[in-house]
């Protein structure tokens, strides 16, 4: 298992170097002078320009520039925001819990609903239940989530007035952030109604972000389940006279879950891409909205750093999924 881990880790290194080259090239590919872009200053003197050029290392050869960039990265220096002048990593770490909280809630919702729904559809294959569930899943899979979010806002925030339109918690509440997770922080604060407010802010973004992963997981669970239900060992278990629930829950599900776990792991990229849209619609202060805002504010230092950090997260999660996969499916280890 340890060797398996090391081999997977070794595969990550060239990818990470490649990703860092992409991020490194980004600033240099943008139209315009990279120094102006990074400094965000206009109409500077020649002296100031040369000073900045030396500061950012643009007077060095390209290979040296990249080497310096990589060394900085490994020391945790992801650049400095042009707009806020704060380190990119610090901004990222402040905003990331909001995205993580939203994504975790979304993937949990997707799993809790998607897996059972997929199982039921497979067991009742061909029934009206199967057809309507899978029809709904295909609609969910085809959903433009930015529109879906707006529709939910019209219905639940506009007409029914059940949920707030944006943000993470009502402005009435204020408490220091201990964990960065609003649900936990609001509980810890002990303020009356704070938790309720946090939940009501979280519901719609969670539903929107969960839509596509939910549909994908339901479809994948169904097809994995169908495949397993046709296997000999399931027939054996049935003919032994085991109760259907035991056959489905114990014999079939455990094997059907192997591809489902991979599917769930693959949703991380989907979630982070979805977070870009969901956070923009609901003004959710996470990294997705941060990236979009930075593109618009031309804060390219943030875009460069954020791009790398987000790719790193996806790579790490994929590694964990790979390991989990090796753990539940010993055949893959060799």
């Amino acid at each position: 298992m340890f060797r398996f881990f090391l081999s997977r880790l070794a595969l990550l290194i060239p990818t990470f170097i490649g990703v860092s080259i992409v991020a490194f090239s980004f600033i240099r590919l943008l139209p315009g002078d990279p120094i102006m872009l990074l400094a965000g200053e206009r109409g500077m003197t020649e002296e100031r320009y040369q000073q900045l050029r030396a500061l950012y290392g643009f007077d060095q050869p390209l290979v040296m520039q990249y080497f310096t960039y990589l060394t900085d990265l490994l020391q945790g220096d992801f650049g400095t925001s042009i707009v806020t002048k704060r380190p990119v990593l610090q901004e990222f770490l402040t905003l990331f819990p909001a995205t993580l909280e939203l994504s975790l809630c979304a993937i949990l919702l997707a799993i809790i609903v998607g897996v059972p729904v997929g199982i039921i559809a497979a067991v009742r294959r061909g029934s009206w239940l199967d057809q309507s569930v899978m029809g709904t899943a295909l609609v969910g899979y085809s959903m433009p989530i930015f529109w879906w979010g707006l529709l939910l806002i019209i219905l639940f925030s506009g007409i029914l007035q059940w949920t707030p339109v944006s943000g993470r918690i009502s402005l009435l509440y204020y408490f220091p952030s201990t964990t960065g997770f609003m649900l936990i922080d609001s509980l810890l604060s002990g303020q009356d109604g704070a938790f309720r407010s946090a939940v009501s802010h979280l519901v719609l973004p969670t539903v929107v972000l969960a839509t596509i992963p939910l549909a994908v997981i339901a479809r994948q669970t169904r097809s994995a389940m169908l495949e397993v239900l046709g296997e000999d060992y399931v027939r054996t278990a049935r003919s032994k006279g085991l109760p259907p629930l035991r056959v489905i829950g114990l014999h079939a599900l455990r094997n059907a879950l192997i591809p489902v776990v991979t599917t769930i792991g693959l949703q991380v990229g989907v979630l982070l891409a979805g977070a870009i849209l969901t956070e923009t619609i609901f003004s959710w202060p996470g990294i997705g909205k941060w990236m979009v805002d930075s593109v618009f504010k031309r804060d390219y230092a943030v875009v460069q750093g954020g791009l790398l950090l987000i790719a790193a997260i996806i790579m790490i999660v994929n590694l964990i999924v790979d390991l989990l996969y090796g753990l539940i499916n010993p055949r893959i280890r060799h």
């Binding site: 085809s142 930015f146 529709l151 990229g269 891409a273 593109v295 875009v303």
Partner: protein, 311 residues
């Protein structure tokens, strides 16, 4: 659709004077249509998609108004069936008095155009790169696959967004960005299929007969790898439409006043609680189009995937 002519599988057999190749091709089409039409959803999807194509092609004839003419005195007019609505603007008007229905009809052109261009670019580049990787293997394969891993390490929409930031916002650049982001999927599929086929006897036979590398790659191997690629093309057609609409929504795709559905949604956002129709209809158009294509994609997979045919 050419396939509709071959609904009856026996028609192909009764063909007179046709060459053997024509008969087998017809028979294969008939078989394909047989499996495809087994999936009711896929047939419905096909009809809806065909209707959208017709609407897009005939847009200037069907649209009741020009998509860009601003009608003074008809700002944010609700749909006809609402009390304040008017039958001359069936789905209502937007904030500057443009007819929503006409804009949606013209928008179909953009979405289909985006889908066709993105898929063609991604498929052709992806197939060539994948063929090279799978056929030659070795160092070139490693380099290509590592590059694909790098592209896949980013969330597709984020990478597309950043690429558009580099290239500049606009429909063409958005299409280039989306095609680049989608292309690794074709590379991987082609490579896997080529590696599976390369060791087969018919390939060896062709090589012994003196076929060149290029001929082996494109004439001998490629035609036998098309099934998964066709299914992927259908799926990425819909993803392309969704991503382009998302970029438009974020202000990085087609620019106003282009009647692209995602861009229309972005313009409509500020009226969300005042005029539901300007938000609802463009999104519905995206959903219906994407859903129709995905329904077709499912049917294609059922018809082309021999593993599923058995069941």
């Amino acid at each position: 659709m050419a396939t509709t002519n071959t609904k009856d599988p026996n028609a192909a057999v009764g063909l007179e004077g046709g060459t053997v190749i024509a008969v087998t091709r017809r028979a294969r089409l008939a078989e394909f249509w047989y499996y495809f039409s087994q999936n009711r959803g896929a047939v419905i999807g096909l009809y809806i998609f065909a209707a959208i194509v017709v609407i897009a092609v005939l847009a200037p004839l069907i649209a009741p108004h020009s998509p860009s003419v601003q009608n003074r005195g008809a700002f944010l007019l609700p749909p006809a069936w609402e009390t304040a609505g008017s039958w001359s603007f069936i789905l209502g008007t937007d904030a500057v008095g443009r007819d929503l229905l006409s804009r949606l009809i013209y928008g179909a052109r953009f979405s289909l155009f985006i889908g066709v261009v993105v898929v063609s670019v991604a498929v052709s580049v992806g197939i060539i790169v994948g063929l090279v990787a799978g056929y030659f293997r070795g160092a070139i394969d490693t380099v290509i696959m590592r590059m694909m891993d790098i592209i896949l390490a980013f969330p597709s929409l984020l990478l597309a967004l950043v690429l558009v930031a580099i290239l500049g916002p606009g429909l063409v650049n958005a299409m280039i960005a989306i095609a680049l982001v989608q292309q690794p999927h074709y590379v991987r599929l082609t490579r896997a299929a080529v590696m599976g086929e390369k060791g087969r006897e018919y390939v060896t036979a062709a090589r012994v007969a003196g076929a060149s590398n290029l001929r082996l790659m494109f004439k001998t191997i490629l035609p036998n790898c098309t099934a998964p690629l066709i299914v992927q093309a259908a799926l990425s057609f819909s993803t392309a439409i969704l991503d382009a609409a998302a970029l438009g929504f974020l202000g990085m795709g087609a620019q106003p006043p282009t009647p692209e559905w995602g861009t229309m949604l972005a313009e409509a956002r500020e009226f969300i609680l005042r005029a539901w129709w300007v938000v609802t209809f463009p999104g519905l158009a995206i959903l219906i189009t994407v859903l129709a294509i995905n329904l077709m994609g499912d049917g294609l997979r059922d018809a082309l995937d021999p593993k599923l045919k058995r069941s």
